[in-house]
Symmetry: C2
Subunit: 203 residues, 2 copies
């Protein structure tokens, strides 16, 4: 088993946090995103959609998408459970993961890709106004999230989960879009601080 | 239990297809998206993120995000399995669902929202060039997908799954962006035709 990974992107970090929480070690091979290795023909043979991470199994089967790789490890190593333990919790972990991934993370990524000169290789047409729209959307999400939190350390069922991992990675990604959690969103800040203090947050 | 639903949007259709495949009937309440009911204060109390569908349980708990609602029903009614039956299949269903949702569906949605006059209420700043970029991305995804299909009727494990539901709904959504599956992508067209012919595709 081998994990194609890279230090310089938020999505692969989700898998590293997940594995750290599970206590699982997987051999890693670095993909040089800055050197555009993922645009090489060699990498297209590994993942035709040209994204990192990729988990390669011993029989050569390859899994992409961070959440799918994490779900695979959850199935093989159920403890500690990170995708919920009851039907409702499992649905709530999926709900919060998707809310964060589609409504927050995507907005931050758009704001970053359309405003950062270094991202011009990925976004040939960088649209400053679109970056601004997405900065507003990210902040709007955080304000709504503030109303949904009630001082609990975790999003679902009183237990750390994949949804918190996505939340931590998204909030740490705000910097790339020159954003931060507004001071007045105290519950979001408190939730974030708790996640960032976990040993798994380091990688 | 009650499903807040709407006829006029692709995401809620995923839940309707899923329920039809499971043979489950759930009372539905229509949300009038065209009348902007989801922007009302009443609806914000139901889903602060203002999206449809929403599944309301008998104790008042509410689930949002189509995939999360489907996963809840999968947990309660495992047969027929629509999220995979082995660890690898479960990961592959997640992988294909996310590939379709993030890389294809999102591109189609952007192309639609930034080019359709009717969508100006949702995208105050409509950017024609951004619509064009996303039309290209949707087509690029379909070309890559063609290379990943090998004539099987379903994406994962020889069995109809949530990933196929997302694929069907995304392909049917192409029209909204004035796109279609190019003639030469015969395997994508064949896969699509098989899904569209299922009784569940009607709702």
């Amino acid at each position: 088993m081998k994990l194609y990974d890279t230090e310089h992107a938020p999505n692969p970090r989700r898998v590293r946090i997940f594995l750290a929480e599970k206590g699982i070690t997987v051999p890693r091979q670095n993909v040089d995103l800055i050197g555009r290795e993922h645009f090489s023909d060699d990498f297209a043979a590994i993942n035709p959609f040209r994204q990192v991470p990729v988990l390669e199994l011993d029989d050569g089967t390859r899994l992409t998408e961070s959440a799918a790789i994490c779900r695979y490890f959850e199935e093989l190593h159920p403890e500690p459970p990170l995708f919920g333990t009851t039907p409702l919790e499992r649905a709530q972990v999926e709900m919060w993961s998707r809310r964060i991934d589609f409504l927050l993370f995507t907005a931050i990524a758009q704001a970053f890709r359309h405003a950062s000169r270094g991202m011009a290789v990925l976004e040939n047409l960088q649209i400053a106004e679109w970056a601004e729209v997405n900065r507003d959307r990210a902040l709007s999400f955080l304000r709504t999230l503030e109303g949904e939190l009630h001082g609990e350390p975790f999003l679902v069922g009183g237990r750390f989960s994949m949804a918190d991992i996505s939340g931590l990675v998204a909030l740490d990604f705000l910097r790339a879009a020159r954003l931060q959690v507004p001071e007045e969103l105290t519950r979001v800040r408190q939730w974030h601080a708790g996640l960032a203090a976990r040993p798994s947050a380091v990688p």
